[in-house]
């Protein structure tokens, strides 16, 4: 892999992981009834619409979120992992459900029981951290894109 391509992948992978962590931290502040800033709410609103877009397998051309394209694809991947064995459309249904649930949280500015949401963001962020490490350790291969699905074409 070219150095610059690798750097680009690493940067966007890490940024998406940090973004997912920011969402967890914002929810934590909300749950502890700490003062929640506009930035937290803006981030969570972005997450609501990004989850919705992912549930419809569509992109968000006007998204202000960095790596929004990557988010859609990674979100689908995480949702699929979380719904293994539950049927073809379970991943899309989960994303739609998470979007609705998070939408409610943002609207009510209240976060009490959101294990599913937290689990989703935590899984996404763990996966991103592992992917960052992979890119870092395996400069010769496109580690996080050359997963089984890519190999499946060969």
């Amino acid at each position: 892999m070219q150095d610059l391509h690798r750097l680009e992948q690493l940067g966007s992978t890490a940024a998406l992981g940090m973004w997912a962590n920011d969402a967890i931290l914002a929810l934590d502040r909300l749950g502890r009834q700490e003062e929640v800033g506009d930035e937290d709410l803006a981030l969570l609103k972005e997450a609501v619409s990004a989850l919705k877009a992912a549930s419809e397998e569509r992109e968000q051309p006007d998204s202000k979120m960095p790596s929004s394209l990557a988010f859609i694809e990674r979100a689908l991947d995480v949702a699929e992992r979380l719904t293994v064995g539950k049927g073809n459309d379970a991943a899309l249904e989960l994303l739609a459900e998470l979007s609705d649930e998070l939408g409610q949280i943002v609207e009510n500015r209240q976060f009490e029981n959101g294990d599913k949401i937290l689990n989703f963001f935590a899984t996404l962020s763990r996966q991103q951290l592992a992917a960052t490490q992979s890119v870092l350790n395996s400069p010769q291969e496109a580690s996080w894109t050359a997963g089984p699905a890519t190999l499946s074409f060969s």
């Binding site: 070219q2 962590n21 694809e73």
Partner: protein
């Protein structure tokens, strides 16, 4: 536990160390405002600032939930990696102080950057030990932009272009820089996102992806879910579209020289082999020729090098040969969107497009080169840098119109020195005129 007090103490110490090692490195020197490298320097400063901002704002403390503490630790680990990678910027900053690439080529590339991306850019061209051209724009921007509430200081977009060390003086290949700079255009103007909303969101397109994923699953990958295959197909199509947009932006900006440079550099490396990131060269050359035809350049190309055009037409004709699954699907989708591709690049470059009328200037430049005269044109109205480059190619192909000649033009160092020097002088003369 991840994110426990000791873990966080360790991570914060490492971050502090990464930041100070960058800031205290003697190579990390601030260039004067507006000079080459100033945008890149500020960009790295922004990266450091965004990491510090995020850490300060987000440290959840011991009273927070274990999930939050773990999330904070993961952010710290990501930050350490990104800050470590920022060391990449040090050799780039050195390159801005003493450019290795031919000065004429650098001037022309800066002009192309202004045409394709805009004025507020900071182009850094760096030789690379690897045998390939590549680029990155706003190298650390994902981290900076994803930091809630952080406002970056620099508005000047750093663009880094790598070229093979062997090609420093092979100026005739440098129209390839236009493709690399085109990546920044695609990024800045969100052209891939536009493709997503204008093409990929169409119900008929979704249906075709669904069908193809079904066929791939049945024939090649029974163990992989259709959802995952659809994701892969979309991602691969976006990759191809991105590369083709860059090719066509380059054609708009530098005309036939891009075709010849691709034939000379790219065709010997790849002819019909698709990859997940790049379409086969057959398809690339087909779309390049189609755009040159639409822009009125084809007769010029035929007159300049009929044999080479024969070769390139043969390559383009093979673009519709069977490639196998899923490549045929990707190729057919690209061909179905060729009007969209041409429309977008033409709209983007607008009246800065290199038009065939420049061909006359290029012929005069080539005539001067026939007599080993610097092809700079009259002082009061020097030839345009892009016309000089085209003149260089015309001169080179006059007695080398063959597949072998397409490659061996790179050997003529004297010609390429003259072309570079003439572009340099033309740029300086024009700049004086403007002042």
């Amino acid at each position: 536990m991840d994110g426990g007090a000791r873990d966080v103490e360790l991570l914060l110490a490492r971050i502090k160390q990464e930041i100070s090692s960058l800031k205290e490195d003697p190579r990390f020197k601030k260039p004067a405002d507006g000079k080459r490298g100033a945008g890149l320097y500020e960009h790295v400063v922004d990266l450091i600032g965004s990491c510090e901002w995020r850490i300060e704002r987000n440290n959840p403390g011991p009273e927070s939930s274990p999930e939050a503490q773990e999330a904070f630790a993961r952010t710290l680990r990501e930050s350490i990696t990104v800050l470590g990678e920022a060391q990449f910027a040090l050799p780039w900053l050195i390159a801005t102080r003493s450019p290795n690439v031919n000065l004429g080529s650098l001037y022309m590339s800066e002009e192309l950057t202004e045409i394709l991306v805009g004025k507020d850019t900071d182009l850094v061209i760096v030789p690379d030990r690897k045998f390939m051209y590549s680029t990155i724009s706003w190298p650390f921007s994902s981290t900076i932009e994803s930091t809630p509430g952080f406002t970056r200081r620099t508005k000047r977009r750093p663009i880094v272009v790598h070229y093979p060390l062997s090609d420093s003086d092979r100026l005739l290949l440098h129209p390839l820089f236009a493709h690399e700079i085109g990546h920044s255009t695609v990024y800045k103007f969100k052209l891939i996102e536009r493709f997503g909303s204008e093409v990929m969101s169409d119900a008929a397109f979704k249906e075709r992806v669904r069908d193809e994923a079904g066929r791939v699953m049945a024939e090649l990958s029974p163990g992989i879910s259709q959802l995952r295959l659809r994701r892969e197909l979309r991602e691969n199509l976006r990759n191809w579209i991105k590369e083709l947009l860059c090719d066509l932006l380059a054609v708009e900006a530098v005309g036939p020289t891009f075709l010849w440079a691709v034939g000379s550099f790219g065709l010997p490396l790849n002819r019909s082999e698709p990859t997940f990131t790049h379409p086969p060269t057959t398809l690339r050359i087909k779309l390049i020729l189609d755009l040159l035809e639409r822009n009125g350049w084809i007769d010029f190309c035929e007159d300049a090098a009929p044999e080479i055009m024969g070769l390139l037409r043969e390559v383009a004709a093979d673009a519709t040969e069977k490639l196998g699954r899923p490549w045929d699907f990707l190729r057919d989708e690209v061909l179905a969107q060729s009007d969209w591709l041409r429309g977008v690049v033409s709209e983007r470059v607008g009246d800065q497009q290199l038009r065939p009328v420049v061909g006359e200037e290029a012929k005069r430049a080539a005539d001067l080169l026939d007599h080993l005269i610097l092809p700079v044109g009259p002082d009061e109205c020097p030839f345009k840098p892009r016309a000089i480059m085209l003149g260089g190619w015309l001169h080179a192909l006059r007695d080398q119109d063959s597949p072998e000649g397409l490659v061996s033009v790179q050997k003529d160092r004297r010609l390429q020195d003259l072309v570079g020097k003439a572009i340099e002088m033309s740029t300086v003369l024009t700049s004086w005129e403007h002042r």
